[in-house]
């Protein structure tokens, strides 16, 4: 239950000037919301941020559009390097997203307004795959749950859980409340998740990390956990991305540590997990149960679609997929394989020939948005397969379809067969 005592918020002269309108009415409007956020989070002061990532560019109705257009009209501009999350449109492939013309026009105006305020037209939920990512220990204001958990956990940067409106106001003012995960003592683990009974061969599949994320989200809620007993050799950024995204979907995870792997755990060394920390053992059975919970169709069912790239497909994921596809066996004509990625990663994947290989065997590429957020898959799709725990979490409700969580190999074998194939040996 919340403490209702009031805490004094101290603003410096520059904060007061912004609030008073000395930097224009747009900055004053943004500052009013930052100050309100500080009061809600009981911060005693505001701090500078080095970058921002904005999630408000996905269209959720007129109010979001009115808000950013008002800020632009009042002359506000971002004052720190700012990236943009996915929009409701694929701006490079018009017609791919089947929104009605009125909503499509509003979504387009929304993207234009965020570019007008000075943010980069990155349109990706994986800003950590772009050059110039935040350094460990720096304070940033990132929105989008998977980006937040990646920035905190894998990069060691510090962000609270910012959402719509707070993200752009932080970018305009360059200030955020000193609260939550911006405070060092809130970043130490309060729970150990012992993974030593999960074999390396199971963790050698990205989809196992999605299932692990589902388990982690359920076990830790909004706590900070440290995962122990994982061989650093089986960990890569794509796997930490998959785990964090699923943990943030199924729970409220904004920061996790992996002993011997993530920066703050490496720095803490033997001091983490500290003695007496509550400890939970995670098992391969729990991973399979999570996989089955994220699966609503059966082995052998007709498969209509496969979705990769939630969060956005990285260049290394393109490389892993290209390796599986190099025999150039085509997909079953009844099954469409979709890959969601950013325009920057797509450009790199084209330079290396990965994108061309994917398209040659029948895959379709989506940029700037994602296949679970807006109508892209054919209306006739009944069952889809994915390596992504986040996609599997949201797709059944968002799209009214059945979903199967599978490894990359299972997904490709199934796409080629046009029906769901499970290789239980990958999960044992």
């Amino acid at each position: 239950m919340a403490a209702t005592r009031s805490v004094e918020l101290w603003l410096n002269a520059e904060d007061e000037a912004k609030l008073a309108g000395d930097h224009g009415p747009g900055v004053a409007m943004a500052m009013r919301l930052v100050v309100a956020l500080a009061r809600v989070s009981q911060a005693t002061q505001l701090i500078d941020i080095e970058s921002a990532h904005i999630d408000g560019c996905l269209y959720h109705g007129q109010a979001g559009l009115d808000f950013i257009e008002k800020l632009v009209r009042l002359g506000a501009k971002v004052t720190v390097p700012t990236t943009l999350n996915v929009s409701s449109l694929d701006l490079l492939h018009p017609g791919l997203v089947r929104l009605d013309p009125i909503e499509s026009a509003a979504a387009r105006r929304l993207t234009d307004a965020y570019v007008a305020i000075g943010a980069r037209a990155t349109w990706t939920c994986a800003p950590y795959q772009l050059a110039g990512r935040p350094e460990a220990g720096t304070d940033i204001a990132w929105a989008e749950s998977n980006a937040i958990v990646f920035a905190n956990s894998v990069l060691g940067a510090r962000t609270a859980r910012y959402g719509d409106f707070a993200d752009v106001c932080a970018a305009v003012t360059g200030r955020v409340p000193l609260a939550g995960l911006h405070i060092g003592e809130n970043r130490a683990p309060s729970l150990e998740l012992d993974c030593s009974s999960i074999p390396d061969r199971v963790l050698d599949h990205d989809a196992a990390w999605a299932a692990l994320g589902c388990v982690v989200g359920r076990e830790v809620g909004e706590q900070v956990a440290i995962l122990t007993g994982i061989a650093p050799a089986v960990v890569d950024e794509d796997r930490l991305k998959a785990m964090g995204a699923t943990a943030a979907s199924g729970g409220g995870v904004a920061l996790f540590h992996v002993a011997g792997v993530t920066p703050e755990a490496v720095e803490a060394g033997g001091a983490w997990p500290c003695a007496g920390l509550p400890r939970i053992e995670l098992t391969p059975e729990m991973l399979r149960a999570a996989r089955d919970e994220l699966t609503t169709a059966s082995v052998g069912d007709e498969l209509n679609a496969v979705a990769f790239g939630t969060p956005h497909f990285s260049l290394t994921e393109f490389a892993k997929l290209a390796e599986v596809l190099r025999d150039r066996v085509p997909f079953d004509p009844s099954c469409t394989v979709w890959i969601s990625t950013s325009r920057e990663v797509l450009a790199q994947a084209k330079e290396l020939g990965y994108a061309q290989l994917c398209e040659a065997v029948g895959a379709k590429l989506v940029v700037d948005t994602c296949t679970y957020l807006v109508p892209i898959l054919a209306d006739s799709v009944r069952t889809a397969m994915t390596t992504s725990g986040k996609w599997a979490w949201y797709a059944p409700a968002n799209m009214g379809i059945n979903v199967v969580l599978g490894t990359l190999t299972e997904c490709i074998a199934s796409a080629r067969a046009g029906r769901v194939i499970r290789d239980e040996s990958s999960w044992q």
């Binding site: 239950m1 919340a2 403490a3 209702t4 009031s6 409007m29 009013r32 919301l33 309100a36 956020l37 009061r39 809600v40 989070s41 009981q42 999630d55 408000g56 996905l58 959720h60 109705g61 007129q62 109010a63 979001g64 009115d66 808000f67 008002k70 929105a143 989008e144 749950s145 859980r161 910012y162 959402g163 719509d164 409106f165 707070a166 409220g252 949201y394 409700a397 968002n398």
Partner: protein, 157 residues
């Protein structure tokens, strides 16, 4: 809880200023506005929520714990614009996502949805049903109701 004749009231902290009046609605489970309520109607659509199908429109909604997507700020702001929002929201936790949705709508439209923060005893003092009046001002906030309206479900305090 304070009492004067048949008037009862509970004091709270103002997170978003405003005045509201409506039937109290206790949420049995946490609710995310994004993905949990219909944008155009303010009706609970979350299939996992025990109150699926219940409308939040014009109600004084009691949210003991918070949950959900950060896109909920946009959804609440849009529901305030479209006049399908609650009359007031009474929070048991410092929920920045909900508060920012109301604050943003106030900035754009001047529409004020009062959001109040209650401590444990404040929550316990609230009626389970009936109409309440909510006032959130700079110098404090309160929820008031008339005892007669609450006689159907007497509350032990």
């Amino acid at each position: 809880m304070s009492q004067a004749g048949s008037e009862r009231s509970v004091s709270a902290v103002s997170l978003c200023l405003g005045v509201g009046f409506g039937e109290i609605l206790w949420l049995d489970d946490p609710l995310s506005f994004w993905g949990g309520t219909e944008l155009d109607t303010g009706v609970i659509t979350d299939v996992h929520h025990p109150q699926q199908g219940v409308s939040l429109v014009g109600r004084v909604v009691v949210m003991g714990a918070s949950r959900g997507s950060s896109s909920s700020s946009s959804v609440l702001a849009e529901q305030i614009r479209a006049a399908v929002a609650p009359a007031a929201i009474l929070l048991g936790s410092r929920d920045a996502i909900v508060t920012l949705g109301a604050l943003a709508a106030a900035e754009i439209y001047g529409t004020r949805l009062p959001i109040l923060l209650l401590n444990e005893s404040g929550m316990a003092g609230l009626p389970r049903s009936g109409s309440v009046t909510v006032r959130a001002a700079e110098d404090g906030a309160s929820i008031c109701w008339n005892l007669q309206r609450d006689t159907l479900t007497p509350h032990s305090m």
